[in-house]
Amino acid sequence: MGQHLTATAAPLAFSRSAVQRRSEALGEPAWALQRRLKAWEAFERLPAPSVTHPEEWRRTDISGLELGMLTLPADGPVESPPAFFGPVAREGAERGGLLTFLDGRPVVDGGRLGEEAARAGVLFTDLASAVRAEPDLVRDHLFSLAPPDEHRFRALHAALYSGGTFLYVPRGVEVALPLVTQAWLGTPAGAVFPHTLVVADEGSAVTLVELFGSYPEGPRALASGVVELFLRDGAQVRYMLVQEWGAPVWEVGSLIRARLGRDASLRSLVAALGGGLVKLDVESHLEGPGASSEMLGLYFGADRQHIDVHTLQEHRAPHTTSDLLYRGAVKDAARSVFAGLIRVHHGAQKTNAFQANRNLILSEGARADSIPKLEIMANDLRCTHGSATSRLDEEHIFYLMSRGLTRQQATFMIVEGFFADLFDRTPIPRLRGYLQARVAEKMI
């Protein structure tokens, strides 16, 4: 048994009183504090996941994470120049609103929602403000998709979450331009627990892009986030998350979970590029007939990065569709794990479910695990999955070099080609270019 996580005494930065202080600093109502304290009890009660138990954690060793070495950043607004993410977050025609966070604290004048959307009743604000200003809406949804007692890190998150996006789109309202959130972790050895809550009411439409990053070098930091996406009947949501934590950050126990009502449509893209260690779940729960979910993923591990993504396509209603494509590359001594599950429940007839995982291994010493699983309890459906793992094709490189490219250029071209269909399906041109540039950087 490791000393760090299994220790029953809570580490210094994490304590019941820290939970109380945070709730107080954020000016929360009593119900919010009560929920945090209940989650704290769950955190104290639940065992730490380890490579021996449960199965989902078997491939990711977090025994090196010492909660006692981490610090909790202060709360309350902060004044700081934004624009950590350069071109994507910069003011421009392609953006309908911006939120900026530093260590989970909202940045004053870090952006705002466009006037048209605001007039239509769209709410786009930091979650702490929403807890104060829209208590009913928040209370009904917050953590109802991601129960705090699912595992120990979920509980820790629910006790200490701060920062993160709240987005509500009223019935029938279509927000034309993408909304953007950018969040930066700047405190050395900081622990952040960003929480995104999106409620897209019936027949609404919206695009949300979230960017996460941190300081590039220094002591180990922790990020453990939760994204809850509620798509009511007929809602159409595009959700994109780009994570480029610095190497010190371990992202542990994060979750992106969507619940889709009748005829709702979600198109998601998750790009996991950074972080020394990443353990992330991405889930679509198709609960209304006719719902459909596109799930795209891109991961790229270099140096000693460890990226572990579990996905779930949960079909609970008939005539639902899910289409998943995750592509990953690993180089140097990096390791990736993709574990995907399609589960089709009794009665979810006429389901279409697809799952594809492609891995490219770029170096001797890199490793990719792929576990594409199916649990099918209905018979009238189409369901396929496929997984392929391969190396750079030397013949292809040779051909490109014979056309005058250097080896590095040829390699880059092949890697770009490997990810091309994901880039093509990225809806915002500026984001597409940004992702391409980030992949190019990782190749060097």
Binding site: K373, L374, N379, D380, L381, S387, R391
Partner: protein, 468 residues
């Protein structure tokens, strides 16, 4: 002083424990403890090293938790099982005790009268046919050894000692530990260098003294350049009142040799069938598992091939059919531990009437196993909305210079296919039958002719009443 077994088990630690073995009279009883294991070893007059292995395995079995993954095994009561019965302990079962549906299946498959009784575990032994004796003479001339494992331990103790437990050690998993502690029967096959055995060796021929065992232990050794096809089981339902069947099969395929192991499993539908089957393939050797699972209540079985030297190859073909109350959890493992190794896995599963069938597998590529290739193909057919199909493929790729693919589909019998066949005057149930037969055809064609015919008949039988 030989105080160590070849598996590094301390013989002094496992001296006789309970009584003077010379003055002992065996009484069958349920349950598992050191005394029972010692009794088994004593009844078989085994060497000390085998008794030590058994007792060591028992300790491990008692310590190790029951697996929590795969099928639900909580209903197995390990204390409510007879772990050993003397061959002469007539079970007092008569033909009248055999359930009607089993008898009906025998008739439909056209099983001869004498065989029926043997398969149902009643009456005397199945009379080996004279053809078997002729074959046996031929094998002996070539130096092939084909015996039940108990006899092999008596007649060829040095070979058994050299290989036993080296592919599946006692601590491998809980059920392997159980088998190692209480094993009885199973086949021992030794094929000398360069010898190719043309006619499949069938356990069916060989069953002469022991009943079809609950805890068989099979060991096959293929010396360099040899070939053998071993066929286990038969398509006819094996009727047993025993609720647990837990075998271990170990196969060593040396340089350039080829071994094919075919199983058609059709245990009666009260049996937990939990089997560890593993082969190791050396340079340019080929191991092929052909595995059909129709019977049992629960089957967990993942035949595996460890390709440990360059050029080794593996092929796994798996068919599973799960009807009402059945959970078929078969699969396969291919371990690429050396360069230029190749494997292919094809799995076909069918679920019907609330049954649950699927595939669970592992593809592992060690660092340095460059140029390795693996293709996995899993297809599932679900015949009604109460049934379930699972696919759990694990791929662990630790080498860049590889090509690994996995594909799976789950589908229903398409209305178009049915409509087409019915428009040609074929009745719906026959059309359904044809489609299912076509679905498993790629594997059936790999079976010896008589098995293929019987398997098709059996599938037809299982399919009866699946329409309307």
């Amino acid at each position: 002083m030989a105080t160590t077994s070849p598996l590094g088990i301390d013989l002094d630690h496992y001296k006789w424990g309970f009584r003077d073995p010379e003055r002992y009279v065996f009484k069958a009883r349920k349950g598992l403890d050191r005394e029972i294991v010692e009794e088994i070893s004593h009844m078989k007059s085994e060497p000390d090293w085998m008794r030590a292995i058994r007792l060591h395995a028992l300790e491990h079995f008692l310590k190790r938790p029951t697996p929590k993954w795969g099928a639900n095994l909580d209903q197995i009561d390990f204390n409510d099982i007879y772990y050993y019965l003397k061959p002469t302990d007539g079970k007092g079962r008569t033909w009248d005790d055999v359930p009607a549906d089993i008898k009906r299946t025998f008739d439909r498959l056209g099983i001869p009268e004498a065989e029926k009784k043997f398969l149902a575990g009643v009456g005397a032994q199945y009379e080996s046919e004279s053809v078997y004796h002729n074959l046996k003479e031929e094998w002996e001339r070539l130096g092939v050894i084909f015996l039940d494992t108990d006899s092999a331990l008596r007649e060829h103790p040095d070979i058994v000692r050299e290989y036993f437990g080296t592919v599946v050690p006692p601590e491998d998993n809980k059920l392997a530990a159980l088998n190692t502690a209480v094993w009885s029967g199973g086949s021992f096959v030794y094929v000398p260098e360069g010898v190719k055995v043309d006619i499949p060796l069938q356990a069916y021929f060989r069953i002469n003294a022991e009943k079809a065992g609950q805890f068989e232990r099979t060991l096959i050794i293929c010396e360099p350049g040899s070939y053998v096809h071993y066929v286990e089981g038969c398509t006819a339902p094996i009727y047993t009142t025993d609720s647990l069947h837990s075998a271990v099969v170990e196969i060593i395929v040396k340089e350039g040799a080829r071994c094919r192991y075919t199983t058609i499993q059709n245990w009666s539908k009260n049996v937990y069938n939990l089997v560890t089957k593993r082969a190791v393939a050396y340079r340019d050797a080929t191991m092929e598992w052909v595995d059909g699972n129709l019977g049992s209540k629960v089957t967990m079985k993942y035949p595996s091939v460890y390709m440990v030297e360059p050029g080794a190859r593996a092929e796994i073909l798996s068919v599973a059919f799960a009807g009402a109350g059945q959970h078929q959890d078969p699969g396969g493992k291919v371990i690429h531990a050396a360069p230029y190794t190749q494997s292919s896995v094809v799995s076909k599963s069918i679920a019907k009437d609330g049954g649950r069938a699927g595939y669970r597998g592992l593809v592992k590529v060690y660092p340095g196993a460059r140029g390795s290739r693996c293709a996995v193909r899993c297809d599932a057919l679900i015949l009604d909305e109460r049934s379930r199909s699972d696919t759990y493929p694990y791929m662990e790729i630790d080498e860049q210079d590889v090509s690994i693919t996995h594909e799976a589909t789950v589908s229903k019998v398409s209305d178009e296919q049915l409509f087409y066949l019915m428009s040609r005057g074929i009745k719906e149930d026959e059309a359904m039958n044809m489609i299912v037969r076509g679905f498993i055809e790629p594997i059936v064609k790999e079976l010896p002719l008589e098995y293929a015919v019987e398997l098709n008949r059996l599938i037809a039988l299982e399919m009866e009443g699946s329409v309307g």
